[in-house]
């Protein structure tokens, strides 16, 4: 493994796309959680597909 000081190593171009994708995944998790729990606590259904 390269013994560089990682605190000053600039990120390569892919990194910002990777961060954008992981933010999308978090947003998806939050949206699905809110939707599923809203449906369940209002007696309207549950996690999509869990029927």
């Amino acid at each position: 493994m390269n013994p560089v000081d990682i605190r000053v190593t600039p990120h390569e171009p892919w990194y910002k796309y990777g961060v954008a994708f992981l933010l999308f995944e978090m947003a998806l998790a939050i949206a699905v959680s809110f939707y599923s729990l809203y449906m369940t606590f209002n007696g309207l259904g549950g996690f999509p597909g869990k029927h």
């Binding site: 992981l22 995944e25 449906m39």
Partner: protein, 435 residues
């Protein structure tokens, strides 16, 4: 060596995602299989538990094979083998044969450690957390996507599902072989190949920090798979009246509500994992080392602190889950569970941001040990959950009598300011390494 690292990450992620789809497709169609073969509750329980049987030993072997033969060949072999058996299981008319075939298909789950090794061989230390998190988190969600989409696409026709999943697995295997490349440099590939022997395995298994990371992964991923199996029954029995009051009647209604709570925990544990890896990178970049006792001067010390924080949050949430259950508050229990799912992801992402950095010449063997043995948590934790005076207090027992000692051991193993991976139950020479 040929290839671009983002392409290698994409190949590994798609391969792992497909393996997870195959692994949990049995569970997604268990109602249809149960109806076809008139299975009892015990039969269903056995089918569900069989999905984990091959994981502990399988992951150890797969991790070693990844170091020895390279990730592309190992991953392609897993995809092709499981794919062929999945195709065969589509034509089976006997339950005994189907059960055996689905256990073989469940071996697809061992591919996790192969992909970890593959990503470790391509990415640098400062981006390891994000890279490994994207691989594992995105791949993990294959189980949830399978539960979501497979019954909607195929209905009760599980034979067609198993057939298509197997055929596409063969295509992914071919893609892995053609475009996959074991490491960014021949030096890295050769180092892993040289170190991928029995002595290397003994060395890793006897290191304190490897054992501590294995226990950390048992507390996170082991807990996740334990909760996947436990939570539906827990909510159905522990909050029966509260769920009925929401308007869910009958067994089917109870299952929908209970299944939703379990799915939300699992979904968050998967989809927050890349963020957890990113946080490990962020801790590393900013040099944050807030916890006492754990090393502060090591090159990767901040990552040790991030993982320590995750383990503490997991333990506190487990205590909170017990308290919420004892109070009989369904909303509080679910809110705590959502938080627990997120903290579990901090643990899983934090662990594998560290494993490749601590054992850079044996990433597969290390991943196999940490990722394999920890799956016993999926078997042991539900037994402890069920062993309490009531359904809710089991979480407290696990937190106080298992997780607290695990955390104390982690703090103890991570205190060394110089080369923690050198300290273990055997000296280097006794572990078969040059002094």
């Amino acid at each position: 060596m040929r290839g671009y690292k983002v392409e290698q990450l994409a190949i590994a992620t798609v391969g792992f995602f497909w393996c997870f789809l195959m692994w949990f497709s049995t569970a997604a169609f268990s109602p249809s299989i149960a109806a076809t073969y008139h299975l009892t509750i015990k039969d269903l329980g056995l089918l569900a538990s069989s999905a984990i049987w091959m994981a502990p030993v399988g992951r150890i072997v797969a991790g070693w094979a990844a170091d020895r033969f390279g990730a592309p060949r190992t991953f392609a072999a897993i995809l092709a083998g499981c794919g062929l058996v999945s195709i065969a299981s589509a034509f089976t008319t006997s339950y005994e044969w189907l059960f055996a075939e689905r256990i073989v298909v469940a071996i697809a789950g061992v591919s996790f450690v192969v992909g970890i090794q593959h990503v470790a061989q391509w990415f640098d230390s400062h981006e390891m957390g994000t890279a490994e998190g994207l691989y594992a988190g995105t791949g993990n969600v294959g189980a949830g996507v399978g539960a979501l989409l497979l019954p909607r696409i195929f209905g009760t026709d599980y034979q067609s599902a198993f057939l298509w999943l197997g055929v596409i697995a063969l295509l992914v295997a071919a893609w892995y072989l053609v475009r996959g490349s074991a490491a960014r440099t021949t030096e890295r590939r050769d180092a892993a190949r040289r170190s991928g022997d029995l002595r290397g395995m003994v060395f890793v298994w006897t290191r304190y920090i490897a054992i501590a990371l294995m226990l950390a992964y048992a507390m996170s991923f082991g807990l996740e798979i334990a909760l996947n199996a436990w939570l539906p029954g827990y909510f159905a029995r522990g909050f029966h009246d509260e769920i009925a009051a929401l308007g869910f009647s009958g067994v089917a209604g109870l299952q929908i509500a209970a299944g939703t709570f379990a799915a939300v925990e699992s979904f968050n544990a998967s989809l927050f994992r890349p963020f957890a890896g990113f946080m490990s990178d962020l801790f590393q970049r900013r040099g944050w080392t807030p916890l006492p006792f754990i090393a502060k001067e090591l090159p990767y010390a901040p990552r040790l602190h991030w993982l320590g924080i995750a383990l503490i949050l997991i333990t506190v949430s487990m205590i909170g889950l017990a308290v919420a259950g004892l109070y009989g508050s369904l909303p509080l229990s679910v809110a705590t569970l959502v938080a627990l799912g997120i903290f579990i992801s901090f643990g899983t992402g934090g662990t594998f941001a560290l494993v490749p950095l601590l054992f850079p010449d044996r990433p597969g063997i290390a991943a196999g040990f940490v990722g394999g043995i920890s799956t016993f948590g999926g078997i042991v934790f539900p037994l402890v959950f069920a062993g309490g005076a009531n359904l809710h207090v089991g979480y407290l027992y696990v937190a106080l009598y298992m997780f607290v000692p695990f955390i104390l051991f982690y703090f103890w193993a991570a205190r060394y300011e110089r080369r923690p991976q050198e300290h273990g139950f055997l000296s280097r020479s006794l572990a078969g390494q040059q002094a």
